[in-house]
């Protein structure tokens, strides 16, 4: 008999070594997430995947599943918490969706839609952040970075490079590039690298591809992120 946990009362099997997120995904249960990606080691930074495990808040993407755990996922309290977390992610960056190439294909926006987030709730920070357009094929807009470190992990764990890192703290936290000049053009990033396509937001964009699919016909314009995320074909990073 396989070991099981329950999520919102539903019995879910798991294998030793699986996280709650992995067990849930295998059983077609969506837990909202942004910094989690099945191919990379968990990072546990965005806290969107917060669930209650035996009464305590835990990050589903890092917390190991264990026999008999009672996990709460879709409670009103957790949904409200996740909406607040998403609002914080919005106000601490600069997210002007109408002028963002990623709109409609953006996972941050899609999570916000999924949580029925209609406002930002908090005062906006309007931090002063830069862009790096130095690379011939890839554009970085720091205004939209949520520090999920997916590009960092994809570059190291998939591309066999080490292009990105996160540096600094608090309001000064920012993405840096592995080059003496600090500019993206002086790194070995190639536009076909996984790291150039992994960003859940519009912080990393491939130049000259932004409007190939018109606004209104993009993935999350008509499909909720839970459905897209659980689908086996990986089409969430449409460009």
């Amino acid at each position: 008999m396989s070991k099981t946990i329950t999520i919102d009362g539903k019995t879910i099997p798991f294998e030793d070594g699986q996280t709650i997120m992995e067990a849930a995904t295998a059983a077609d249960v969506y837990i909202p997430h942004l910094c989690h990606h099945p191919e990379f080691t968990p990072h546990g930074s965005c806290k969107l995947c917060t669930v209650k495990v035996n009464g305590r808040n835990c990050s589903a993407c890092t917390f190991p599943a264990a026999e008999g755990q009672d996990v709460l996922n879709n409670t009103q309290e957790l949904i409200d918490d996740r909406r607040k977390i998403t609002q914080m992610l919005f106000v601490e960056g600069n997210h002007f969706c109408p002028s963002c190439e990623k709109t409609g294909n953006c996972q941050l926006q899609a999570v916000a839609y999924h949580l029925n987030m209609l406002d930002d709730h908090f005062p906006l920070f309007y931090p002063n952040r830069e862009m790096d357009a130095s690379h011939p094929d890839v554009l970085i807009d720091h205004n939209r970075c949520i520090f999920c470190a997916l590009c960092v992990r994809a570059s190291q764990q998939h591309d066999g490079k080490n292009v990105f890192a996160i540096s600094g703290r608090g309001i000064n936290k920012h993405l840096i590039f592995n080059a003496e000049s600090g500019q993206l053009k002086d790194t070995d990033l190639d536009k076909n690298d996984k790291a150039a396509h992994i960003c859940p937001t519009g912080a990393i964009l491939i130049k000259r591809t932004g409007y190939q699919v018109p606004i209104g016909q993009r993935i999350y314009d008509h499909h909720e992120i839970d459905e897209v995320s659980l689908a086996t074909t990986e089409h969430q990073h449409g460009e």
Partner: protein, 179 residues
């Protein structure tokens, strides 16, 4: 007809795009007109709000006059609604927040290409600019939010018909857009 629901609308630091989208209600406007009457609004040219049930605010605040108008709406409207991206997060006008005000003004009125008779406008009639464009929930309490750039006519319709029928307004997935 007595006891119509009274609605006021205004555009602060916006482009009137939300108002244009509201007019996209087209023939549904006739139905709406049976239930509501308009107080202060670009549609009526009434200059000041009196007691209203619903106030619809397009745009964020970018100058002192916007702040006064917003406070007047809050004082007079039972339900105040932030309409569109700019009211909710400052929107595209807030993209000037990253450039010092002095630089914005010099670019527009002194050093910009094709500027004749360069001078920074300064007249008592002109409202003073705020150093940053801000969303309206930072200035007054907001009761409801209609996201979108602009929110579609269907969003206005769903929201107003819910409210007029005494239901808690709800926007389904397809009606929630930030773009």
């Amino acid at each position: 007809m007595a006891n119509k629901i009274r609605v006021a609308t205004t555009s602060l630091a916006g482009c009137f795009g939300c108002h244009m989208s509201f007019l996209d209600l087209d023939e549904r406007l006739v139905q709406l007109a049976e239930l509501v009457e308009f107080d202060r609004s670009p549609i009526t040219d009434i200059e000041h709000c009196t007691d209203c049930d619903i106030g619809l605010i397009e745009g964020g605040v970018c100058n002192s006059e916007n702040v006064h108008t917003l406070r007047e709406f809050r004082k007079n409207c039972k339900i105040l609604v932030a309409v569109g991206a700019c009211a909710i997060n400052g929107g595209l006008p807030a993209m000037r927040n990253f450039i010092p005000l002095e630089e914005c003004l010099s670019e527009a009125y002194l050093d910009g290409i094709g500027v004749e008779n360069p001078q920074i406008p300064s007249d008592v009639e002109l409202p003073l600019l705020l150093d940053k464009v801000r969303p309206i929930h930072e200035v007054v309490k907001i009761d409801y939010y209609l996201p979108g750039c602009p929110p579609s006519a269907d969003v206005f319709w769903k929201f107003l018909t819910d409210l007029l029928a005494g239901r808690e307004p709800e926007l389904d997935y397809e009606l929630v857009h930030y773009d």
